[in-house]
């Protein structure tokens, strides 16, 4: 397989890249790691005549530990995330998730920003970021705007960015004291079939906050706040409530059509993994 013909542009600033992408419009694609884009172009699924290379842009690089959280530039690779001492210390589930993406080669060059912008529904990062309450900062019409991951990704391969807009990076708040985050997924084929992530906070052993995100099954990440439903619960009461909540959620979550696994089985996995993630979240938050 060969790549179709295209012009390769290498702007030297985010402003320049944005301007170029605005001018070229639908004929152009922002090009970062290329693990998804070049593949899609080889397969004839994307026919951009211009690639605007974002890799050299220092503004999109870097992992910074800041008060209250971590900033990850859109051009940071999965490999950098999984091996970052800062992320390993502050957000171990994020490092763990990044270490499970595809394979070592994809992680070495694939970027967090590229992953989010490509918006492949069968993918882990957006789901975990959603549960973590991450904010995606993008340059939209020249302005810096923040979104949640579930807002940012509108559907399969569709974000709210328009030509000329760029994702700059991701702000992930540090885990609140007494809370834990858990990411679980089931991989049957090369890409995840079900992804769930939970964030659970406890005070004196009882739940005070809970959030669940479900991805890889539907057209976009579904995030639900379960703090109200689970507040004050622990032990058997928590488990019972989680089970009934998950049955409800799994029964109603929108699914993508034409998947190798049946809707029934996918809903079963959502229910199962969601409950496991919340249980593990509670367990983790107590320790």
């Amino acid at each position: 397989m060969k790549l179709p013909q295209f012009e390769l542009h290498r702007p030297n600033s985010v402003d320049g890249a944005s301007q170029l992408l605005t001018e070229l419009g639908d004929d152009a694609s922002a090009y970062s790691g290329g693990t998804e884009l070049l593949l899609a172009m080889k397969l004839g699924l994307i026919k951009s005549r211009h690639l605007v290379d974002l890799k050299p842009l220092a503004e999109l690089r870097g992992i910074e530990l800041r008060p209250g959280g971590v900033w990850i530039g859109a051009g940071v690779t999965h490999r950098e995330i999984e091996s970052s001492p800062a992320i390993r210390a502050v957000l171990p589930p994020l490092a763990g998730m990044a270490s499970q993406i595809a394979n070592v080669r994809v992680r070495a060059i694939g970027t967090i920003g590229g992953n989010l912008c490509f918006a492949d529904p069968n993918s882990d990062p957006a789901t975990l970021l959603s549960a973590l309450g991450a904010r995606l900062r993008a340059r939209v019409n020249g302005e810096s705007v923040e979104f949640s991951p579930e807002e940012f990704i509108e559907g399969p391969y569709q974000t709210l960015l328009r030509p000329g807009d760029l994702l700059l990076g991701v702000w992930i708040p540090a885990l609140p004291a007494g809370s834990a985050a858990v990411h679980l997924r089931m991989k049957i084929h090369e890409r995840p079939s079900v992804t769930v992530a939970a964030l659970v906070g406890v005070t004196r052993g009882e739940v005070v906050a809970a959030r669940l995100a479900v991805g890889s099954v539907g057209p976009k990440v579904l995030q639900v706040e379960l703090g109200e439903e689970l507040r004050g619960l622990s032990g058997v009461g928590f488990s019972t409530r989680v089970r009934s909540l998950m049955a409800l959620l799994a029964g109603s979550i929108p699914l993508l059509p034409e998947r190798p696994e049946s809707p029934e089985y996918q809903r079963h996995l959502v229910r199962l993994l969601g409950a496991r993630a919340l249980e593990a979240g509670l367990e983790g938050a107590r320790n």
Partner: protein, 158 residues
């Protein structure tokens, strides 16, 4: 298409070429450089047969622009030959007969090289996970895991 100039170090040699921007690294290596040790198989970044190192990181050369090796170092199996690492790998692979058809072998060695550089004595699980992106249909992997565990100084499978 406007050609792009790449200036890179391939297996220790300075290379400067003007190439079309849509040229894939695997085609640059195999067709332009004659480095046919790098193999093409799945073409979708899954099998690992086309693995080469760019600035010490393993990449799928089937989905990597040759234009992007500009100002970087590229290492293929041909560049490994004769290095102490390769000598150790060869001895271990021979001991365990961990080569069969050999089509996956070059990519596998480069993944192992990248691993050797950053991970001292990986656990068996780490080894399995690091190699999970290099498919082999012949060996059943057991001998490969044993050989690389020896090379990387870790506990191999039973």
């Amino acid at each position: 298409m406007s050609p792009v100039t790449v200036q890179a170090v391939v297996n220790g040699d300075q290379v400067k070429r003007s190439i079309p921007p849509n040229l894939l690294l695997i085609d640059f290596l195999r067709d332009e450089m004659g480095l046919t040790g790098t193999k093409q198989s799945c073409e979708v970044e899954v099998c690992g047969a086309c693995t080469v190192l760019v600035d010490d990181e393993p990449v799928s050369s089937c989905c990597y622009l040759a234009a992007d090796i500009d100002q970087r170092r590229v290492e293929t199996v041909e560049g490994l030959v004769g290095t102490p690492f390769h000598n150790r790998v060869v001895e271990a692979f021979l001991r365990h007969a961990a080569v069969q058809c050999g089509f996956c072998t070059p990519g596998l060695l480069l993944t192992a090289k990248a691993m050797a550089r950053r991970e001292a004595a990986p656990t068996e699980l780490e080894l399995r996970e690091a190699l999970a992106g290099n498919l082999c249909r012949c060996t059943g992997y057991h001998s490969v895991l044993q050989a690389l565990a020896e090379v990387l100084g870790s506990e191999g499978p039973a």
